[in-house]
Symmetry: C2
Subunit: 219 residues, 2 copies
DNA sequence: AAGTGGTCTAGACCACCTT
DNA sequence: AGGTGGTCTAGACCACTTC
């Protein structure tokens, strides 16, 4: 159990409300939880381990204790198709950057990421930059100040086509985890559409909470 | 754009801090977002639509505009195996309820849910109750006061075995989405382990945010 | 300069839990 | 009864954005 909010506020010479805000941040990350009338306690470690946030493949790998790798299969500026333009809410034929990568963990091929980037012109990423930064999100954050803020994902199962199978070293028709993601920047611009296909060796870990508002007290 | 926090606080005769807390609740649900110095705005509707919370299959179906169905394949009280006992953090051979269901949307078989329930003794659920309530979570909340609060999920791809294939009406070896979940109650007890396998017709929609603490300003 | 959200304060009272 | 978290207040100042 943590010291009470009143105690912490005394020790730290801040107001109780400030302590509460800090505790809420820890709670959001699954590090602690508070029980009305009882106190605030450290969460079971599994809860924090399962927390998932919008971050890079590399950061996720690090959290699992693995080393992330990437091989750029393709990087090119292309005019957006109708489908891509619709998803990214841009005019068709606007130039977008397509970045297709083979991702690995500890040297084992684990998935294919096929991304379409719609950065505010004239921002462009190059092969050298992507290779240098390792993380696409870190690159566009540091170079262009575009901060990925939210990801909208659709997750399901699919089967490996010929190209996927060859790249991932599995048989054609093997089950894959497919995740499509639209990434929003902190300015709520749609900056990326990414389609990812992972082998059965890869798992998404996810923590979901109950919706807390009274209006949604439906189960 | 919403009225400013100061305006709302005047109109509603509450303090600005109270308004802010309400806005944070809406923001958590992806209904609005706030930009420092600019204002608070209604989110793109896709953001709210992709919000995912711990809820029942039936509620999720409702959100998609579909009707959820269930067929109970098996319900029985069994002593927990070592594996199940380990996951649920109970003594091996403690009696748990196994509940295996075929779930459908709009009459189409969509997935198999295989759950192991460890409710505080002597709580037990029966076939009649599960059929009557439709939702397992609602049943245990209303009947026993056990509130599902958090779900820890591991999501990946797998292939259909013979039994799955027959129940779901797909071929053996067809890709399925597999989701394992440990459900924690509001008292942080592990109350359920559930393994779910869904056809390619089913997708998880998920919204993930960026981790906001300064310490994790890594991308 | 004016308006916005972000942070912080010092205090009050309520609701819940444990003893 | 006493301790805990949950909610609310009225005000202050800071940081950011737009005009």
């Amino acid at each position: 159990m943590l010291p009470s909010e009143r105690d912490l506020s005394t020790y730290l010479n801040v107001s109780r409300d400030t302590v509460r805000k800090a505790v809420r941040l820890l709670e959001d990350q699954g590090i602690v939880y508070s029980d009305h009338g009882r106190g605030t306690f450290v969460s079971p470690s599994l809860v924090h381990a399962m927390s998932r946030f919008l971050g890079s493949f590399s950061l996720d790998a690090e959290k699992r204790g693995s080393k992330a790798g990437q091989k750029i299969l393709l990087i090119e500026d292309v005019p957006a198709s109708l489908a891509i333009a619709g998803i990214l809410e841009i005019e068709p034929r606007t130039i977008v950057t397509r970045l297709k990568r083979l991702r690995s963990m500890d040297g084992v091929p684990i998935g294919i990421q096929d991304a379409y980037l719609a950065l505010p012109a004239p921002a462009r990423v190059t092969r050298q930059e992507v290779e240098h930064y390792g993380s696409l999100y870190r690159l566009i954050a540091e170079k262009f100040g575009v901060i990925p803020a939210e990801g909208l994902e659709s997750i399901g199962a699919t089967s490996a086509g010929e190209e996927d199978a060859a790249l991932l070293g599995v048989g054609v028709g093997t089950p894959l985890l497919i995740c499509e993601r639209i990434t929003l920047s902190d300015r709520r611009q749609r900056i990326e559409y990414c389609e990812m296909r992972y082998t059965q060796a890869y798992r998404y870990n996810n923590r979901i909470d109950r919706q807390m508002t009274t209006a949604s007290f439906k189960i």
